[in-house]
Symmetry: D2
Subunit: 338 residues, 4 copies
């Protein structure tokens, strides 16, 4: 940690800061520059976590040198982690191909979508039974009935299933049916929910919050891991941008950033990142080329009857064509599906 002092700092103030650091069992190294004095802190930075040094008079800025996450960091685990969801591997060269409708709908609809995405090469089936909708008047999902449909259809087609949990009181219920639990973008900093999910040992698919920095994102993974659950797969799904032409801005550079900072796998979700079907294929391929460990795509065979997010779904035929292209780009960067 580096403590930059005000230009007008007094000797007394410098001493006060240094004493404060010493009380916490850390050493200091003071550099007196021509314009500014800087205090380097030597030792275990985590001891300073709760010490508001920046509030001390004379302190201009406090710069951490170590990231605040540990379990999620590459330092803790230099090799890429491979997460297993049923028979599917994610990370370390293995790609998850997650597909399915936004919301779980009727068994017949789910059956027909599952069949087509499986044939195209998807290896994990998705569908929401509890939907976090921005309007209280929109369809909120089928609940437990939806979980059953999802599990049964997935099983029939040999695909493990992933579904979102939105309520800490439902975590056990969702774990009964799902092979992987999804945490939505709007819940990325719902620390109560992160903590409950961390107490299970289910693989977790955590979407990036709409304005989360890479540090925020890894801190949320740390929350889950600090409870004992290390099976976290990250997912870039677009961040807020200034151009209303797309729903969000697809931040593909997050993929190499996460691979540099963390051992956790990261996949991409171009469906939510762009919100427009005609942009999804290009962004899916971009994600794979950038090193993503999987692709999450919403697919629906009757988008105009979809109960949620129909306008952004790919048709089964479009998904199958995209999967052909994904296979080629994956081969070009030395990855395999599953």
């Amino acid at each position: 940690m580096i403590i930059i002092l005000d230009e007008t700092v007094t000797e007394e103030q410098i001493k006060h800061v240094a004493d404060k650091v010493a009380q916490l069992g850390l050493q200091t190294s003071i550099s007196r520059g021509t314009y500014r004095t800087v205090i380097g802190v030597i030792g275990d930075e985590t001891k300073l976590q709760s010490a508001p040094l920046a509030a001390i008079p004379g302190v201009a800025e406090v710069l951490p040198v170590m990231p605040a996450y540990k379990l999620a960091s590459k330092q803790a685990h230099p090799k890429p982690t491979i997460i297993e969801v049923g028979p599917v591997k994610i990370g370390g060269g293995h790609l998850a191909m997650i597909a399915g409708p936004c919301a779980v709908e009727s068994p017949e609809r789910m059956e027909s979508i599952a069949k087509s995405v499986r044939a195209a090469g998807a290896n994990i089936f998705r569908g929401g039974a509890f939907k976090p909708r921005t309007s209280p008047y929109s369809f909120q999902g089928l609940g437990e009935e939806g979980l059953k449909i999802l599990r049964d259809v997935g099983a029939r087609h040999g695909m493990p299933v992933v579904t979102e949990v939105v309520d800490p009181r439902h975590v056990d219920l969702v774990c009964e049916y799902a092979d992987m639990i999804q945490l939505g973008a709007r819940n990325m900093q719902n620390f109560v929910l992160l903590t409950e999910v961390g107490r299970t040992n289910k693989p977790v698919l955590m979407k990036r919050g709409m304005s989360a920095t890479v540090q925020d994102f890894l801190m949320s993974a740390e929350y889950i891991m600090a409870q004992g659950n290390s099976n976290v797969v990250l997912c870039e799904r677009g961040v807020k941008g200034f151009d209303p032409a797309t729903r969000n801005t697809f931040d593909v550079a997050l993929v190499p950033q996460i691979h540099k900072l963390s051992h956790l796998p990261i996949i991409v979700d171009p469906s939510h990142a762009t919100g427009r079907p005609e942009l999804i294929p290009a962004c899916a391929l971009a994600g794979v080329a950038a090193g993503a460990d999987g692709v999450h795509i919403e697919v629906h065979d009757k988008p105009e009857e979809a109960m949620s997010d129909g306008p952004q779904a790919l048709l089964p035929q479009q998904y199958a064509e995209l999967m052909d292209q994904i296979r080629k780009v994956a081969a070009a960067v030395g990855k395999q599906i599953g």
Copy 2:
């Protein structure tokens, strides 16, 4: 609602869209322009809420004409709503002056802060007992013990109290002690929590999410109101911006926007919006001048020992000076405190 069709739309597709709208019991008016055809939908738009018209082939864009919120809208209630928190009025010319430390700390510390902010003119006392921290290793709050301290100290100084709830399972507990419940920025789209809070009749202080549009914000208010709780006070606390020089960007224009669209009161929180004490007074005054119905400020008498967010707190003396200025600006725009 206006449905803009693709340039290449066929007559068959136009008929298909119009039929779909008619099935929902609405009328259409088709304008065939030189380059584009546009369908106006006549009738109650809410019938279209779950119809993904944008997914129909030939449809380029669907533009709603009515906002998706109703209870929160000015149409529903043209006069400004005045919310009462104990003896304090918020809205319609009455200003809430909410002050206190970020987290509830020891009874002695709370006592001393309460005394000073009360003397300066604060009328609602704040403090967090359940803290949503970005790090799992940071202080998470004193829990129920903190709620007791807050209530007792507030009562002793004649101030109703506001405190944050982060867990849907704690809503009843928090309601027992608090006069007003706070929903934090990170939970603005935690729809499970919004729904639970909507089932109480406590006044709610809802902070704006870090990247919530004005429409998102009012939709979250609608969630609470749709459950029966109309006592919602909105709070602008800064949105994500591109300049790391401030923690967030203080979006003061939200104040007149909310006043134009909604009858709900809106206050400002310059402490979180800027994250820097030297910018707080100017932004507080800006908020009042822009018509805000109150100001939320973090105050601590020993910031360097604060258990959370010390570096952004004002000192009691700074708060007292700011309150003097606020009184002058409030008078200039015809508002009174409380």
Copy 3:
């Protein structure tokens, strides 16, 4: 300057960095932390301006301690600068009230607008003769003819005039007619134009770029000042945001930030910041309450016939009412107009 080294840095690399710094005539102070080594640089940082230390292997990050601007900084000139535009003072407690149409139009139209804004209390008259339009097919301004009209009408009503320059080849021409030169947001980093304007001694009104940080903004002021022209007035006019509900996000916190970092005056332009007349008055008052040194407002008496930006203009009557409120808020914060 602080140089943070990689965790895996070698002794040889540390030595190489330190030698590089020494070659430039500066001293180093090395702190070896438990996890990271940090080099503090002692001496005149500007010597490092062109040395890409961050490119040296083993260097993780280079953090400047001093801002890169000097002439614009408060260190260079601790007291607020007061800029004089004809008889009008800007800064140090004096407010500029700049008003007029977006583009210079006919002499009759200009006459009528000037008369009304002068009566309302405006002290500087504005209008664009060279318009930087986003479409090549839009009205580009009246050119020199517009400059003449502006000057003559301003003179008749006792107001100095400000107008935009967009071409470095027109700087002399514009200086002949105008009392103050405006640099538009899109030209804030047009360094060629900044340099030309810096060679004159005309007061300059520089608008903030749409995504300029406070540091970027002051660096652009430095460009002008480095050429010898210190008469720079800054103007906040909104930055790009994620909510399409307003044209831009009005960043009122920039006002106290500039006052903390620089001696230059800063005014606000709520017309461009919001793009919506119903939000302009609240934002204008917010700016004055936050300490702005003036307000820039577009006024037109026939907005539906305006040749540019009509929809965001205030009507003369609305401007007069706003001026009444501005006078009250200005008095509350101890400022006077002009």
Copy 4:
């Protein structure tokens, strides 16, 4: 164009708007909804370009249905345009591989960089002779001397050259030496410069502004094309984002957006988009997979001695390795270099 009226609009106001439209020689179609009335405008929208309908009382919003650019649109030219820069083709399946240092430096340095990037497969050589630096105290480029060095070194290695122009007075000079002219991000809305460049027939490489929407970007291309120069290659180089971890946010989805809206080629510049060498290869591959028509990379063989932007340059060896990967991904998506 669609004109949405206020809920409180009067019949008189509706008539006034319709008359205004009729005066311009266009027809209207009025839809009276339950809550809102909407006027569809039929005919050539460009006639409305300068009519500020939104300023008419009773008008809530004016929505254009056609984009404001024409020459740049796909409607004008449905097939992808192929731009030729010397022997190099850009667009329609042909990839430009532009490489070189940020600034032109000594002939020896340029010689050595050119040799290595040519061997790796680059087909256009870059280097800045006029540098738009954010600090007036930084190196501003070698000027005409730099242009000569660039041209000679490029010629010796069989590569056409691209270099930036920043001053409208230098356009002819730069055209004498360069095969392609670059317009920098900060000048994307420098309409004076766009106009001058549009008067030449040189191929233009136009970088996207830091906060330009896709519509803004294409409007700037339209500026150049409206003067007669249709040889415009667009370049995505990152937009402003909220996470200081990268210099900018690489908006890869712009590539399929441009291909949908325009016939112009678009390349990507991951060097400026990320500002960090370790993220450049992944983003370059992402761009190619997304369908970009080329990649622009800064390469320097002695980054720590670079006169500009050294820290973000790739080393020649890194560039050669990246080119090997680019060739594989390009083959996977059916593209060829040059």
